[in-house]
């Protein structure tokens, strides 16, 4: 059952136009945990002077990864729509490096899934950004 849900979630993500446009790749999704990567692309730059990726692209990655974590949680029924998402930016991502987000759905009620995540570049020890979000969990 859990494996089926994860497979469905992976196929769904692969079929989403915006995720295809950003070249996102699901590297892990299972039981409330997800890991999604996004390659560096000059079109995603937010600061032309430094070549640093725009916060909006990091937000899209975080939203997707946190939503995927919620969706893959066994207690989550139906589509996980974002209720709110907060991103804290620790430091600029190093230009040229792939960004990898990981998220964990750590609590689910009848209607809400609570998720936290972080994004890293090649330096695993110093996150680029962290995220905290809530998602719908109870179906429509």
């Amino acid at each position: 059952m859990t494996k089926d849900r994860s497979t469905i979630a992976r196929e769904f993500i692969d079929a989403v136009p915006h995720l295809r446009a950003l070249g996102m790749e699901v590297t892990r999704i299972r039981d409330g945990c997800a890991e999604i990567a996004m390659n560096y692309d000059p079109r995603f730059v937010g600061d032309p002077e430094t070549g640093v990726i725009h916060g909006g692209a990091v937000s899209a990655l975080m939203d997707t990864c946190c939503g995927a974590a919620a969706l893959s949680h066994p207690a989550c029924v139906g589509w996980a729509a974002t209720i709110d998402l907060r991103i804290d930016y620790m430091r600029p991502a190093t230009p040229g490096q792939r960004i990898r987000a990981e998220a964990e759905c750590f609590h689910v009620t009848r209607s809400v899934a609570f998720v936290r995540g972080r994004a890293m570049d090649d330096d695993d020890d110093r996150p680029v950004a962290t995220a905290t979000g809530t998602f719908t969990a109870g179906g429509v």
């Binding site: 915006h18 725009h54 916060g55 997707t64 209720i83 804290d88 930016y89």
Partner: protein
């Protein structure tokens, strides 16, 4: 003449950011008031079944609106005060943009597959920090589909 130079300065500011062009976001100016527009395109879709805009596209739209809104408000004061000639922006001498510290988005209803608009309000603009609130809507201005609050570190004048 003044209006054209200001519009050109705004255009230079916006076109300097590749990700704004990637998402197809445009800005309209009425005096010092800016409206951001994100024309609908297929690649913004996040839920093909509904269909609905991707939450990440909405978040990026809000963040772009906030950063350009804040940056423009700083430039506007300098242009009005005569300390900045808008033509310098056209020559590629673009100002450093504010850096996002935190950004919190509330999704109020699903984004429909049509054009979206946003306006940012600078609630605090100090020497080092600024706080900006932004609302996005589609058909009905009184029914926003998303809102966000962002905190920013101001660009340093000394680079």
């Amino acid at each position: 003449m003044v209006k054209q130079r200001r519009d050109a300065a705004l255009k230079a500011l916006v076109e300097g950011v590749p990700y704004i062009g990637f998402l197809g976001i445009e800005f309209e100016r009425r005096g010092d008031e800016l409206t951001a527009i994100m024309p609908f395109q297929e690649m913004l879709i996040g839920n093909p079944a509904l269909p609905a805009l991707h939450g990440g596209a909405t978040a990026a739209f809000l963040e772009v609106s906030a950063i350009i809104g804040l940056s423009w408000s700083l430039l506007w004061d300098e242009i009005e005060g005569g300390t900045l000639d808008p033509d310098t922006l056209l020559l590629g001498d673009l100002p450093r943009l504010p850096r996002t510290v935190s950004f919190t988005v509330d999704y109020l209803r699903s984004g429909l597959p049509r054009d979206a608009y946003a306006r940012a309000r600078v609630n605090r603009s100090g020497r080092r920090y600024a706080s900006v609130h932004v609302e996005a809507w589609q058909d009905n201005r009184a029914r926003p589909f998303a809102q966000a609050t962002g905190n920013f570190v101001m660009p340093r004048g000394d680079g």
